[in-house]
């Protein structure tokens, strides 16, 4: 039987450490892992890609969002920037017309230089989202509640109207998975600045994205580009 969010928030992703029984996940301060034969290892090759400390956090984030997997990034902006690598020149994005200033700046001043266009839409009205769709639309980017206006979008209604080939991405930073699980409402990807409610103590900077995709390998660039932005292990702990 699946556990309630309060229980997951405490226990998800954590197992007693194998050699000592330590209840908290150790900080595996290692860059590389010994292999028993070439390409034969225990699932860990190099800490930029995977590290047990980061795995524990990613498992917890995925479970809290009801996702199949989660990825932890060095910041929320690193997570957003990496998600934009799913786009290619000529693609179009529908984005909420009230978003974090850093998101707007990244989209219009950096990503737009690569031939990707953005429509800033009042996403409180699903009809306006539908009207903004183009054949080349690949992302619908929601914040709900929005930052700073705290406007709400109907995630399920927008998921229902979205054509095949369009990914619905929800920045769930303001609600946190305790108040809202976008994937259960039909979103394809949910992302966070984990600096905020998931961190909760103003003492770390981090980010995350979670998806129902079975593995974070589609397209492969998604995984490759995030590798340089993985969350540090001391913060993951």
């Amino acid at each position: 039987m699946p556990h309630q969010p309060e229980t997951l928030a405490v226990h998800a992703g954590t197992e007693p450490e194998a050699t000592s029984g330590a209840i908290m996940t150790p900080i595996f301060q290692t860059s590389t892992y010994v292999q028993s034969a070439p390409a034969v290892h225990k699932g860990y090759e190099y800490s930029r890609t995977d590290n047990p400390t980061r795995t524990a956090l990613q498992t917890a984030l995925a479970q809290l969002e009801g996702a199949r997997f989660g990825l932890a990034f060095a910041s929320g902006m690193a997570a957003i920037d990496t998600l934009t690598r799913l786009l290619k020149p000529g693609d179009h994005v529908i984005a909420a017309n009230d978003v974090y200033g850093g998101t707007y700046r990244l989209f219009e001043r950096v990503v737009a230089r690569y031939g990707i266009t953005f429509s800033w839409v009042d996403t409180t009205d699903p009809a306006r989202v539908r009207a903004a769709l183009r054949p080349e639309t690949r992302f619908i980017w929601l914040e709900t509640p929005t930052n700073p206006g705290l406007r709400l979008a109907d995630i399920a209604a927008i998921a229902d109207l979205k054509p095949a080939g369009v990914q619905l991405v929800v920045d769930n930073t303001f609600a946190s998975p305790i108040l809202q699980q976008p994937l259960a409402l039909g979103a394809d990807i949910v992302m966070h600045s984990t600096t905020k409610y998931l961190g909760g103590h103003s003492d770390v900077v981090g980010g995350a994205s979670c998806s129902m995709m079975r593995k974070p390998t589609r397209p492969s660039s998604f995984c490759k580009t995030r590798w340089a932005r993985s969350l540090g292990l001391w913060i993951a702990s």
Binding site: N97, D98, V99, Y100, G101, G102, Y104, R105, E108, R109, W120, T144, P145, N147, P148, G149, L150, L152, T173, F174, A175, S176, L179, Q180, T195, K196, Y197, L198, G199, G200, H201, S202
Partner: protein, 86 residues
């Protein structure tokens, strides 16, 4: 969204200068970017977190004040806001 969260935004009735001034007058609400911590924060998005949207099609109202409400005692937070609002 299943319930209310901890964020509050409001447009100061006396305009942008009053919004900026009150943001600097609280004592428990710390004037800082970010949100979601146990401690309460106040900020002026137009000149802080959302400065990059100024003069754009999604520009933030310059009279908007954003609060991240922490877990201090509610009466202490209300008193702080009342004092700052004058």
């Amino acid at each position: 969204m299943r319930d209310f969260g901890g964020m509050i935004s409001f447009i100061h009735a006396e305009g942008p200068e009053a919004a900026q001034a009150m943001s600097a007058r609280t004592h428990i609400f710390a004037l800082a970017e970010s949100l979601g911590g146990v401690e309460s924060l106040i900020e002026h998005p137009y000149s802080m977190t959302h400065a990059s949207t100024a003069d754009s099609e999604i520009a933030t109202d310059p009279a908007l004040v954003r609060l991240s409400v922490g877990i201090e005692h509610p009466q202490d937070l209300l008193d702080d806001l009342h004092t700052a609002l004058g």
